[in-house]
């Protein structure tokens, strides 16, 4: 599969996803924080959307965990909720998205999520990433490597 053919929905919430905070039966006591703060209600940022989806999955887990011990639906609900969290993290693994929950008194109160850093401006103190090979680069005449920057498409042959 070519990456250009990857459906965008693979890396962002399903179209049918909705913020549970907008539902009339929303219970804020079960809503975990994200990196110590409450998520904004609306964000077009893909990372924020994934966060909201994951926090929602933990909200569902909390909802199940809050059911009375021994309740017939509780254990199955907890298993289902944990599977949903796992599936979400599987789905977003290619972009390195995962959350680390913190539980207090049996409920998830916060989820720590790493956001990939934006590429930093180069400075003497910064650490650059590894160099990478550009096959054929050394065959280019030196004069083509001077002057104003030009976009080149490499064959990676």
């Amino acid at each position: 599969m070519n990456p250009e053919n990857l459906e965008p929905h693979l890396l962002s919430p399903d179209a049918g996803f909705s913020d549970p905070r907008l539902a009339p039966d929303f219970c804020s006591a079960w809503w975990p924080m994200c990196n110590g703060t409450d998520l904004p209600a609306l964000s077009l940022d893909a990372h924020d959307q994934r966060c909201l989806e994951l926090i929602t999955a933990y909200y569902e887990l909390n909802r199940q965990l809050a059911l009375p011990e021994g309740s017939p639906s509780r254990s199955a609900g907890v298993v289902r909720a944990r599977q949903s969290i796992d599936q979400l993290e599987d789905r977003y693994a290619p972009v390195g998205f995962f959350g680390e929950p913190q539980f207090v008194d049996g409920l998830c109160r916060n989820v720590s999520i790493v956001r990939p850093g934006l590429p930093g401006l180069l400075s003497a103190a910064s650490s650059l990433s590894s160099q990478f090979a550009i096959p054929g680069l050394e065959e280019l005449p030196a004069e083509e490597l001077t002057g104003p920057p030009a976009f080149r498409r490499w064959s990676h042959g």
């Binding site: 070519n2 990456p3 290619p94 990939p116 590429p119 650490s127 650059l128 590894s130 990478f132 090979a133």
Partner: protein, 319 residues
């Protein structure tokens, strides 16, 4: 005596290779140079006997930015990464440095060698352990194996291998079950000491792989430190693999790495504004789960088996 300050702000794994070049410079030309470094990882140079503090403003001190353009010929020519900085220095300085060891050059102080491992302290015994890095930096996500595969390896070796998970905060290191979680708990220097005491290393192509070879062995240990690398088809194996390592690659097994490493960067764009998101830097054979095909071809069973080979051969021979 010529005086050089070598500069590199590249990643720690790259800097390990620069330590080898500095060592080999001095071995090839004993007493001819004074050298100092400016790098992104001072911890890799601690106790290094080849460094002399140099002031760049001092007359006669030459500042040398270090690169390894040899990488651009890595698919065609029979060189290891260890040749990379050496070749560049040879060209820049008109020298003929030759590699003298198949490893980077890290040095531990006597106190560091005698210090017991925090893992052994935690375990309450000197039981052997393996370090595992189940992820990496966000820039080259093509190097990642799926988090579920790492977990499968740990699960398959439960009761046979004690894994200690390490990883830098801010990088992609999803938590594994059944391991000692040492993520984010070490400085680079402390990580080096964990490697020193480790029986083996399990990782993708990353700093730990270089450390597995470069960190000295504890006294009494004659066999090379074990290292199993989940590599795929990004890098040519001969460029990365060290003696004694089990390097699982797919060069020659897929069209996209038919004759060498693809040197691509990512499986899918991260949207972080990096040029590594550009189409020409993206993997051309991605599975529906977002894993590079070359990484997907490597099974958890074969990796677990590779680890076990080191462990089995550590056991007493059966009569």
């Amino acid at each position: 005596m010529d005086k050089y300050i070598f500069e590199s702000r590249l990643s720690p794994g790259d800097i390990v290779m620069l330590t080898a070049a500095v060592r080999d410079l001095h071995r090839s030309y004993p007493g001819r140079f004074q050298t100092d470094v400016r790098s992104s990882c001072p911890d890799l140079w601690t106790n290094n006997p080849h460094l002399t503090p140099l002031d760049p403003s001092e007359p006669g001190v030459r500042w040398i930015p270090c690169h390894y353009p040899l990488i651009h010929r890595s698919n065609q020519e029979p060189y290891h990464f260890i040749h990379g900085f050496i070749e560049h220095l040879n060209q820049e300085l008109g020298l003929n440095i030759r590699p003298t060891e198949f490893r980077g050059d890290l040095h531990l102080s006597g106190e560091e060698r005698e210090r017991s491992s925090p893992i052994h302290q935690h375990l309450g015994s000197r039981s052997p352990y393996w370090l595992i890095a189940a992820g990496g930096k966000y820039d080259y996500t093509l190097k990642w194996w799926h988090r579920r595969r790492w977990q499968e390896v740990v699960d398959q070796l439960e009761g046979q291998v004690q894994f200690v998970q390490v990883g830098e905060p801010g990088h992609y290191h999803p938590p594994l079950r059944g391991v000692l979680d040492w993520r984010g708990k070490t400085s680079l220097r402390e990580l080096i000491l964990l490697v020193y005491h480790a029986e083996g290393i399990l990782c993708p192509v990353t700093l730990l792989m270089h450390l597995a070879a470069a960190v000295p062995l504890p006294p009494g240990r004659s066999r090379l430190r074990g290292c199993v690398v989940v590599a795929g088809g990004r890098e040519p194996a001969h460029w990365e693999q060290y003696p004694g390592h089990q390097f699982h690659h797919t060069i020659g097994q897929l069209d996209c790495c038919a004759t060498g490493g693809c040197w691509k960067s990512r499986t899918v764009p991260l949207g972080d504004g990096s040029e590594l998101d550009r189409p020409e830097a993206l993997c051309v054979d991605v599975t529906p789960f977002g894993l590079a095909r070359c990484m997907d071809m490597i099974s958890s069973a074969e990796i677990a088996d590779s680890v076990l080979r080191y462990c089995r051969s550590s056991s007493p021979k059966l009569p």
